[in-house]
Symmetry: C2
Subunit: 509 residues, 2 copies
């Protein structure tokens, strides 16, 4: 029957009468897409995927039977269980018929399947969204934006306007919008912390703008130095680059640091003076072990209250996400931006971009609602919710402490104490005088010492981490980022053993 | 307690010591984001939102009590019910604990809640994804990509490679990636049909590339004219613009036309000769009322089989989505691209872009699986599935026919018979000699006649449609796009009445 598949036009002749053009090569593509780098899913994680496939083969010959994905904060890929409150509600909004079906069951059976507050919330959300299969308003469902505004109000003690909330497909989509809108030419500068989360440099590359890295102070718990920022603004203006935006990641990724209120105030003063939009990436606001998270919005609202003339023009975009915290619902793509102080016409352009993307996934929007408006004491779901949340917090702290402890014991590794987020960013104190063999090897392989270390760590132990150069580091220093999410202690032991061998192979005796 | 919120730094002084910078205005933003237009959610739909809010007020004073959203193909916002097969499975993958819980129920109760093939599929998907809350591979879950490849194989009779499948957040995300990657400067041309779906012009604007519109032939059922495309390629090359990609929307949006195999073959010949990447937007492949859908991939595979030398270099990206068809799951953001013929290095760049976005929403990926690998005859879910699918098809055909019939009766309206997709794109035969008052009014209001017509239609009847100029049309012609999704006949009657009044007001007697 093959002949049926050939069009009549083709049957008329054996060969086409034209000279075929060649395929595209990378040199035909958008240069900015070639330049963008994203190490978190870069060379080493891609190699980890290959090894993961290899492990499935019989007699794979590798000295391990699993890959430890410590390259990315993806808790549910490891063993973190989703919160029942989230998943119960989502299962009902996905299948509303079930609400009627369970209503016909005995009360005991029904309540064991779905606590009444879950059913109520699901109904309320269905009433607002209509169906999770319908496009929502491009800015996100109204009811959910109202809940987000109320959450911010409760958190900060200052009101928030639901019209300033944009629900987004995770915080990544928010960053991509904002950087796209603000990149008004190849002379637009974005001040970003170094080390940074590489989504920032990637988005800046894609928009052909200029990253201006401000180094965080490793010796002082990765703190932010306002003087340095001011200096960079001055220098870049002199070079013809206009700094237009300042990115703050708090709690820090990959550093795990937490900004003090004093630091935040100084950053906002710089923003007010230089008309910089502040992007406050606060997706780890629930992941705090030591110290206290203070939102950029809270500090700004306080400053505006006290001195509206000086601070009234500050434009702040703060981001939150359902992927981190105790939610860890990375694959569900929920998040929001709060825009403060932006002109109406500018918000309209951001809205247009959101419209071109139609709408953020509706179930992700619902997760935002469930995160910001969770069961309160006394409600049927509260005890289980509270128990699950506490266990996750406890677990994360234990794992962070354990991994931190073992880095402290490793030769020539220095690591700041984790305060927040999901990562450690230890320094590998490799210098050419102490590690001549290592530097020679790296030169041969055209790798930096951190790339080589992470590559070897992966090949020998199956642990996938990300070299510090994917995040940025002071030249001549070497780091790596690892999450502390993988369960158990066995992988940490195998890392320690690897490290011992590495040192004994490469360190000058 | 307010004092606690003010930082120590602020307490030291009453006023800041700097001159505050002004807020951003639109002139400070990325020019390309200002220029991008997206009429489907543009001025008229935004006005419809305002009216929708107004309707909620007591004594709103409007002559209608609901807005008819005919501007966007959003079936579940109207009254299309989701397929039980989709939603049952999604509810289980969202809440896997339910699988254990229902296992403890009596078989009768259990099977009434969840047919066994739903439970099996949910388990299989959970095994592959781990959790819908975990980031997946950036290209999408492997099992699901295998199902997509098998679906394409069955559909076309030619094999498909799962490594060439990229799962995406709806087809929109796919279009945005592809146009971004291919836009290698301000002289890159994209051949797009006119009328087109405005996502294309919007993406091309955002990437500062050049749209090259090829008019579809309205007098011949909106067919494609290969001669015209060849002429445009020649002219644009002479002007220094390099056509790099040719977009085909089949079944057509907004036109509802279907490409013949002969047309597709000619398009592929042009692509082979000029090295154009073909983007085949085939999201309406299931929405066919008359004639038959033939995929671009099938025709290409046939040509390559017969004449690999001429056609072996053709690069095709074909798109599909869970938002349209009988699925209509717009808010869930599922879709895929099949890449055929692309160099490995080019696919790597597309993969990198996907990585920067982390992963398409996992529940949307699962919907793709459920769409391409649905219950087969004999399986427990088949009868209900088949019944629901047939009803939706029947319903859509009825609504299309009804609306088409009423356009045929309207004075000075011409409409091609709908063959596929979800839209009608009638022509408003308004000419200055017959409608002098209309053209005078439009000049006063700085609106085109189609914009004015759609605005009046909305204000007077609550029906939200999109003017033809949002999609492109031959200069001096006026159209509008409407979906035929809204239920009932009452809205169609009110449109007919509005039209009569409009004609009697504006047409020269």
């Amino acid at each position: 029957m093959k002949i049926l598949r050939i069009s009549p036009l083709c049957l008329r002749r054996s060969y086409a009468s034209f000279k075929p053009a060649p395929k595209l090569s990378v040199s035909d593509l958008n240069e900015s897409t070639l330049e963008a780098k994203y190490a978190v899913r870069g060379k080493i994680p891609i190699r980890a995927d290959e090894l993961r496939s290899k492990i499935k083969e019989l007699n794979h010959g590798l000295p391990y039977d699993r890959i430890i994905s410590a390259n990315i904060g993806n808790p549910q890929q490891l063993d973190q269980k989703p919160l029942s409150w989230y998943r119960q509600t989502l299962s009902l909004v996905q299948y509303p018929t079930l609400i009627d079906k369970i209503n016909k069951l005995d009360k005991n059976v029904r309540d064991a399947l779905y606590p009444p507050d879950v059913v109520d919330r699901a109904k309320k959300l269905l009433k607002s969204t209509g169906s999770v299969g319908a496009y929502s308003h491009s800015q996100g469902d109204t009811l959910i934006r109202e809940s987000v505004a109320e959450f911010i109000h409760q958190r900060d003690g200052y009101p928030s306007d639901p019209n300033n909330i944009f629900l987004t497909g995770g915080a990544s989509a928010a960053v991509l919008y904002l950087i796209q809108v603000l990149s008004s030419g190849t002379k637009t500068g974005f001040l970003i912390p170094i080390p940074q989360y590489p989504l920032y440099t990637a988005s800046i590359s894609l928009n052909k703008a200029v990253p201006i890295g401000y180094y965080l102070d490793e010796a002082n718990d990765w703190s932010t130095d306002p003087k340095l920022i001011r200096k960079l603004i001055k220098e870049n203006k002199e070079k013809g680059v206009t700094p237009k935006c300042l990115v703050v990641i708090n709690p820090g990724n990959p550093t795990g640091s937490i900004l003090t209120e004093k630091d935040i105030t100084e950053i906002l003063e710089i923003a007010a003076e230089h008309g910089l939009v502040v992007i406050a990436d606060e997706v780890y606001q629930e992941n705090v072990f030591e110290g206290q998270f203070t939102s950029m919005k809270k500090v700004l609202a306080g400053l505006v209250e006290k001195d509206p003339q000086s601070y009234g023009n500050v434009q702040l975009a703060s981001l939150h996400s359902t992927s981190k915290g105790v939610s860890g619902e990375c694959g569900q793509r929920g998040g929001y931006i709060e825009l403060v102080g932006f002109a109406k016409e500018v918000k309209e352009i951001i809205f247009k971009l959101a419209s071109i993307n139609l709408c953020p996934v509706v179930t992700g929007q619902i997760l935002v609602e469930l995160m910001v408006n969770h069961p309160k004491k006394g409600s049927p779901s509260y005890d289980l919710y509270n128990h699950e949340v506490s266990s996750i917090h406890k677990d994360l702290l234990e794992r962070a402490t354990l991994l931190y402890g073992s880095f402290q014991k490793m030769t020539d590794v220095e690591c700041n104490k984790p305060r927040g987020a999901m990562y450690l960013f230890p320094k590998l104190n490799f210098t050419e005088d102490k590690y001549p063999k290592l530097f020679k090897k790296c030169e041969e392989l055209n790798l930096t010492p951190d790339e080589f270390y992470c590559t070897e760590l992966l090949e020998q132990t199956g642990i996938c981490s990300v070299p510090g150069n994917g995040f940025g580091q002071v030249p001549g220093t070497y780091h790596l980022r690892t999450t502390f999410l993988p369960p158990g202690t066995e992988w940490i032991e195998s890392w320690s053993n690897f490290h011992k061998d590495f040192i004994s192979t490469f360190k000058q005796k």
